[in-house]
């Protein structure tokens, strides 16, 4: 069993509105799985089904090979996008309460909380009320509460919103650490650069359907167009340019470098290898810059959503 979580053709209707249509995903153990999609695609509905907040109309969800049941709640840590804490409750009391709701004993929760509070250097917040904290500070508490009971599966919905870059990095490192310790992470966000940084696998939902899923690298391979970004320097650039244009499909490119180069995107046929292109270019001009254009998660996202 390599998949911690499997959703098998899950459907959900709200009245006449179809929120999820036969969506299947498989989240491998120990991976960080990006659940992506435009607003209203059904991500939150799917996450709520995994958390047993709503029940699917059709289909099944398996956690660790077993159909979801109420006891699984303690195996999951969920940080919703719409999140908050009781404003007038003290930080420590509140964290204890939420930990106990996840099935932890009070003493266990307390010792683990102390540990986390020291780790994030927020020990003196214990007796403060949430309303005395800033938004980012409250988010830290929220993060701790989510991961405190060491769940097998962590679900983060836009975990970095409300954090400054330093704290966002701190949280990112903690997420990676948790992954290394064996947790599986489902990560839902609109910030594609963090998908790029964190995710091993992704699934893309659009208009209640899954339109794409797999390993991020495999998907990138699928979406690559054999295009190379090239920077050249030559004394008679016009001639060189004409010769290249004659042989390959050429698009203008913009990137930053130090010299006043000819900047090009060159698309080659699959039969030609990158080495062939490079040696051809080397005979014509001095090559300063030669990179294969790999589609970013952002490109893939926009392209897939537009095509559907």
């Amino acid at each position: 069993m390599n998949d911690l979580l499997v959703a098998d053709s899950v459907s959900k209707n709200f009245g006449k509105f179809k929120a999820l249509n036969q969506v299947s995903i498989a989240v491998p153990k120990g991976s960080i799985f990006g659940l992506l999609g435009p607003n209203g695609a059904g991500k939150t509905t799917l996450i709520r089904i995994i958390n047993q907040i709503t029940m699917p109309d059709d289909g099944a969800v398996m956690l660790d090979g077993q159909p979801l049941k109420p006891e699984h709640i303690r195996d999951i840590g969920y940080l919703p996008e719409e999140r908050g804490l009781y404003k007038s409750m003290k930080v420590g009391e509140q964290a204890l309460y939420l930990a106990q709701l996840k099935g932890m004993s009070k003493s266990e929760a307390k010792s683990r909380l102390k540990h986390w509070f020291e780790k994030l250097e927020i020990g003196d917040w214990w007796n403060k009320k949430i309303q005395e904290l800033s938004k980012g500070q409250a988010q830290k508490i929220q993060f701790i509460v989510t991961v405190l009971h060491r769940p097998k599966l962590l679900i983060f919905d836009e975990p970095f919103s409300g954090f400054d870059p330093i704290n966002a990095n701190l949280i990112k490192d903690e997420i990676l650490k948790l992954r290394d310790e064996g947790a599986t992470v489902i990560f839902s966000t609109h910030r594609m650069e963090s998908v790029e940084e964190l995710c091993d696998h992704i699934a893309l939902l659009h208009k209640s359907n899954k339109v794409l899923d797999g390993k991020l690298n495999d998907i990138k391979r699928q979406y690559k167009t054999n295009t190379f970004e090239v920077g050249l320097q030559s004394n008679n650039s016009d001639v060189v340019l004409a010769e290249i244009k004659d042989k390959f499909e050429v698009l203008p490119a913009t990137f930053r470098n130090l010299n006043d180069d000819i900047k090009l995107n060159i698309k080659i046929e699959e039969s030609i290898s990158s080495n062939d292109l490079l040696s051809f270019l080397a005979t014509k001009a001095e090559v300063h810059h030669f990179v294969e254009v790999i589609p970013t998660a952002n490109d893939i996202f926009i392209q897939t959503v537009k095509n559907n």
Partner: protein
Amino acid sequence: MNHLPLIIKREYLTKVKNKSFIIMTFLSPLIMIALIAVVAYLSQLNNDKQRTISVLDETGYLKDVFQNTDNTTYSSLNGLDLETAIALVKEKEDYGLLHIAKVDSLDDISDNIKFYSEESPSLTVISGLERRIEKRLREMKLQKDGVTLEQIEASKTSIDIAQESFEGEKSSKIDNVVKLAFGGIAGYLLFMFIIIYGNMIMRSVIEEKTSRIIEVIISSVKPIQLMMGKIIGTSLAGVTQFVIWVILGGVLMVVVSAIFGIDMMQMQTPQQEMVNQAMQAQGAQAMAENMITAISNLPIANLIVAFMFFFIGGYLLYSSLYAAIGAAVDNETDTQQFMLPILMPLILAVYVGVFTVIEDPHGTVSTVFSFIPFTSPVVMLMRIPFGVPLWQQGLSLLLLIGTFIFAVWFAAKIYRVGILMYGKKPTYKELFKWLKY
């Protein structure tokens, strides 16, 4: 996983530790007592006020009618004409002038009496005057027909019908007063409790929505557990507050009346005056004895058991609806459209209780309303002191429990969907749709 005790504990502690809750708990009885003291003081002040009423009797028939009392002095202006009398009264700043115009026969007097005053006179003063004049005129008419004063006096009788049930239980009018008081207090208590703490539950649900904690909680516990925990926790806080109010109120009452020497029970309203007169006639001691028998005549055990069941049942029924409303809306201003359907049956129940049950505790209207689940807790609690057959109580309770279960199911549905809906002001149609999600 049963988290109910944990949730109840949190709800209870948050409520009880809340500053405004603590302030209200200790301030309310103070304010109440202060209000009562002020009212009592003012009414005493009012009673102590001396007033002079001038009388211009041109007929001479009503000579001895107007005897001075503690608060009222009558001064006779006989012999003056009306205009001079009015001017004089104005100048003396008397309370008013009673004018009985000259007429030929006794029968015409009643149509020719007028009261002149600067401001419109108090109802008590006028009816007091009317009573005196009526009595004198009746006596005079009887005397004219040859009845002597002694005969009139001797004809006065006072009846106090002794009541006894077929089973031989003796009772009296005092009994009914006591029964009414018990029923009324029980019913009114429930009404107040529902309104105050139902609202508190609603606000606490809304707070969870606006603070956005709800989704975090709901990923750990079932919505219905959260809802029930909220209802029970808030109710326990409510009971705590109520008990403190009763104790504190009682103590303060004693202290205040000891200090200021104001006998709170002696607030003089016209009705009470009459009751007092009736009591004096009976003798205070007999009265007290009657009161005790009346209380011991009440079906005490039945009353306590029924009070617990109907109180809890009625309260839970309404509070689950309050919780559903809280879940359906985003902020308190949006609650109004849903509040009316809840308040209507509640207010209806109190009206039926106050007007119909007093009139006829076992009549059709009272009986029917003591079966309808939304009114039954209040109405039945008011009826029970008068003795309601156990099968009726049982049936009514059964209906109440059935409705309660349905209401919790209904509320839980709305709650489950509503707590995750943000930024929408739902209509009834949408609520109905939620039931099917």
